[in-house]
Symmetry: C2
């Protein structure tokens, strides 16, 4: 009788839909439907715009917002995460695919679909092997810097649509150079549409809701109206283009968008293509996962829910595979739309599935209406959306807190702007790990003494403490491992090379969480060297796990001194034995 129960639990863990669907009722349905309507309104122009940013046909943005949402609803653990094309991942897609094929070609589209497929596989594999912890190696400041720099890159890359000119490049110098070179070709009508729309959308974002509330509108409705700003911009500029025939006056438009269901597509299985896309897919997967999980966790915490990061990998993996087989491109959980989904009252992932239905209806019915939509309008939508991602305050925050964090974040920003997203985030991660390793390779070592009236020991340079003349106590503020083993040797040899008649060296190990084989060999060397000089080496406050390990070596047999439970014990015993020897 117990086996089926266990199986059900097991199944529920891997198919979260089984869990929440059990208690699904009419009330939940209403909340989810309402949220889905708002998110759909927001998502239609965004999906088109992000496809444009990725260098893909507009309809691929819609396709990426249908099946992937259903897949996430089945496998994802967040109740409110809204999956789909997002700005940073679209930019990374453009960077990855742009190296391999020209925009507008069939190869470009196939490469983007394949990228989604590889990325989905990577996420699934990471999920199955529970490698979600790997995302922890992206430090918060590095992510913040990366997102900010990406926002700047994205906004700059969209400027060309505002001006109605061509501009190429994946780095800030390339984009600016290209814009500057072609600025004389700017189309005044396009520029007018672009700037007006940008200004309008900024105003909608900041000023509309308070205004509507002031007119006595209900907050919920005011919220929906404000969210519909981009839709209004799309409608107005499309109508204007159609009525005045602006497409004949040089205003670039979206043009024909195929009407109908998402097509069934297959990724390419060309080995060369896979190997060229693999690193990009890995970066997109990890960045997408980190962004998505941090949104999901923030929102889950507000409702005291939990998400399971390793299951999230499965959910996002399934979404990307779904994108690859239905004409989409890489997707992940978006920040803005998830917050909107949350605020609009979504209670289960079913809201995502309803959103998918909404976008599907748009793909089936609305696409002919998009013919006259100016690219400049979509560019304005993107610019206004991504500028909220840009936040350089991380630079000043890290500068005042920690120069190491500052170095990592400043390098990430500079390299992302100067050399593109892939270089930026890769170097950011490597640099933050490298700096951490560098710090641990030259640990802080404090010489400590007894704080009078207590049994507590602190740094002799910071506190007024008691010490004994023939005894040196060093507190090593780091685990001992290969990278700092030699440093410790040098430090101790330098410290004892003085005129004082040192008889005992105590290593206070309260901060030593690990002694690896290399460090053990160094300790043996130190013990031997001190023994030759008639100095005893003692340890104190060695932690359980470290002591367990030392007991498995011969070090404790050879140690010239003792291992004391506490540093206070060490001081009492060693100074007492001094006196008795002196007597």
């Amino acid at each position: 009788m117990r086996l089926p129960t266990l199986n059900r639990k097991h199944l529920e863990r891997h198919l979260p839909i089984l869990q929440w669907s059990k208690t699904y009722d009419r009330e939940t349905l209403t909340s989810d439907m309402a949220a889905a309507v708002i998110v759909t309104i927001m998502l239609i122009p965004q999906s088109l715009a992000y496809a444009l940013l990725a260098g893909l046909p507009a309809e691929m943005g819609l396709y990426a917002s249908i099946l992937p949402l259903v897949a996430y609803a089945v496998f994802g653990t967040s109740r409110v995460l809204a999956v789909g094309p997002v700005a940073v991942v679209s930019l990374m897609t453009a960077a990855a695919v742009g190296n391999l094929a020209l925009q507008g070609t069939a190869e470009y589209v196939v490469a983007a679909i394949t990228l989604a497929f590889i990325s989905g596989l990577i996420l699934l594999v990471m999920g199955v092997f529970r490698l979600g912890f790997l995302a922890n190696f992206l430090s918060h400041p590095v992510i913040a810097g990366f997102i900010t720099a990406s926002g700047v890159l994205i906004a700059t890359s969209q400027m060309k649509h505002l001006f109605g000119i061509k501009a190429e490049g994946h780095t800030l110098p390339q984009l600016l150079g290209s814009l500057f070179e072609n600025q004389h070709l700017a189309n005044p009508i396009t520029l007018f549409i672009g700037l007006t729309t940008t200004a309008f959308l900024f105003w909608v974002r900041k000023g509309l809701k308070p205004l509507l509330l002031a007119t006595g509108m209900k907050p919920r409705l005011a919220d929906i109206m404000a969210k519909a700003g981009p839709v209004a911009a799309v409608v107005v500029t499309t109508l204007a283009t159609w009525i005045f025939g602006l497409q004949d006056k040089g205003v670039r438009i979206v043009g024909e968008v195929p009407m109908g269901l998402p097509p069934l597509t297959l990724p390419s299985f060309d080995a060369d293509l896979w190997s060229s896309l693999f690193v990009s897919a890995l970066l997109i997967s990890v960045i997408g996962f980190v962004e998505s999980v941090s949104v999901a966790q923030t929102l889950a915490a507000k409702r005291r829910q939990r998400i399971i990061p390793d299951q999230e990998l499965i959910g996002l993996g399934a979404s990307n595979i779904a994108a690859a087989i239905s004409g989409g491109y890489p997707v992940t959980g978006g920040f803005a739309r998830s917050v909107v989904n949350f605020d609009a009252g979504a209670e289960t992932p079913a809201a995502g599935a309803f959103t998918a239905v909404g976008i599907l209806l748009a793909a089936l019915l609305l696409t002919p209406l998009l013919y006259f939509l100016p690219n400049a309008t979509l560019a304005a939508t993107i610019i206004v959306a991504v500028l909220s991602l840009v936040d350089f305050s991380i630079l000043s925050k890290t500068w005042s807190y920690s120069k190491v964090d500052f170095t990592a974040v400043a390098s990430t920003i500079a390299l992302t702007l100067g050399f593109g997203v892939e270089v930026g985030v890769s170097v950011g991660v490597i640099l933050s790990i490298g700096l951490f390793l560098y710090k641990t390779s030259r640990p802080h070592v404090a010489e400590v003494g007894l704080v009078p009236g207590t049994q507590h020991f602190r740094n002799i340079n910071r506190h007024d403490v008691q010490t004994a003349p023939s005894m040196v106590t060093l507190r090593i503020d780091e685990s001992l491992y290969f990278a700092n083993a030699r440093f410790l040797e040098d430090y101790i040899y330098n410290r004892i090379a003085c005129d004082e008649p040192i008889k005992d060296v105590v290593l206070m190990c309260s901060a030593v969480n690990e002694v690896d084989m290399s460090a053990l060999e160094s300790l043996e060397a130190i013990n031997q060297r001190l023994k030759d000089l008639d100095i005893k080496l003692h340890l104190s406050e060695v932690k359980g796990p470290v002591m367990d390990r030392l007991k498995r070596s011969h070090f404790l047999d050879e140690l010239s001194g003792e291992v004391f439970l506490s540093q206070y014990d060490a001081m009492v015993r060693l100074t007492r034995s001094d006196q008795s020897e002196g007597a």
Copy 2:
């Protein structure tokens, strides 16, 4: 008046020769000369043999043992390090160059010379920027495993010369497969010479010296005789080949070795060649440096001398540049020859310069005599020399001490044997760093209580300690940084999700050596979450450097609890306030 003195000091730091040459006298000269004679005798057959191992003409081994020694004598800080071609670096040279050109071609020779040049530049740059600490990231077990596996590869690669057959490859399966395939072509006379020489050299190494001492010979002379074993083997087998005309019976011989001074050579400056050789040159530089420095430090410690690692980089860099311009190939400090130099009484680097003169005389006068030297003799010399490097006990040592170290060393050995030296050492380094990071990303957290009768706190699961019911004290055994920031959040949220009426959570920070920006954000989140649950968060035993940093953020203002100097203070104060509240 002071400036010249400072300049002199500065100059002496960068040209150590200025320092030791000041006190150079007749006695030092005699010691150095005597050591040079012994090392020269040892080095002549070894240099030829290692050139053969590197796939290069025999004379390049001699050339690599002339000018590089003089360069090291000028720039190096070790008094006794003997520089020249060594087994592992020769094998790495063969692996690096063998991918680019065929043995026996001019391109192969130029690539080897270029490799020495690039490697010299890398070492010089590392020295100038004081990057010697990077070598610390090669853990002792990884080095031990790498040297052992290289020894096995080298011995196997020389088997072909013992059999007189051809065999190619840079990995154990390739070499064994190739040997097995061609074994029917074995030349019986070559095999006889090879096996007899190998047996003889083993006997010289183990049995000769005791025998000579037993006959009443002076220890010093017995030592020289034993070191001359390879020379005797060279002389006897060369004479035998000449007298019996063995070269016509299929015994491969060294053949014509050009007589004269080392040629003036130039590396290639072809950009493609440089980019293909760069990674190999980097690995050779680092491995050569680590080997060399560890020999130099071991020997320096015995005489209470010191070496300066960053200056050693300059010394080895100069040696490799010297090798590149005088027809040599990559060199470094050798273990066996340095020990011989030390034992023979070398007192200054001048001994190295005298050795260079000895080898130069050999290149000028003795090369015609080497015509009939069988390759099998040289192979036997190499096999006997490298088998002393092979020591698999590192596997059992690390197995019993630490599974993490064992994983790193076992992988290094397996990958070096299976995929060659470059893959082996690269993966070894990456793996040991990765495993360290993984451990720090899931730190040990101990819940602690007061050891009765003391002010000392230990793990409640290991010690019999006192705790207070409403207070949880967690000792985090790791620095808090981006990789474990989320882990800490999860750990604390799980710990407080229990039935106990917890009012205070104390984080005992005695082992927290660092709180980076990511961890600070996690601490802020934890503080906020606990505040919502009406639980106060306290810190205790925060170290000076960490406290300095926290003071620069807003965290301490927002902290719901207090920061206690010692954990004992925290317990006394928090339990007292409990009672007063209860009263």
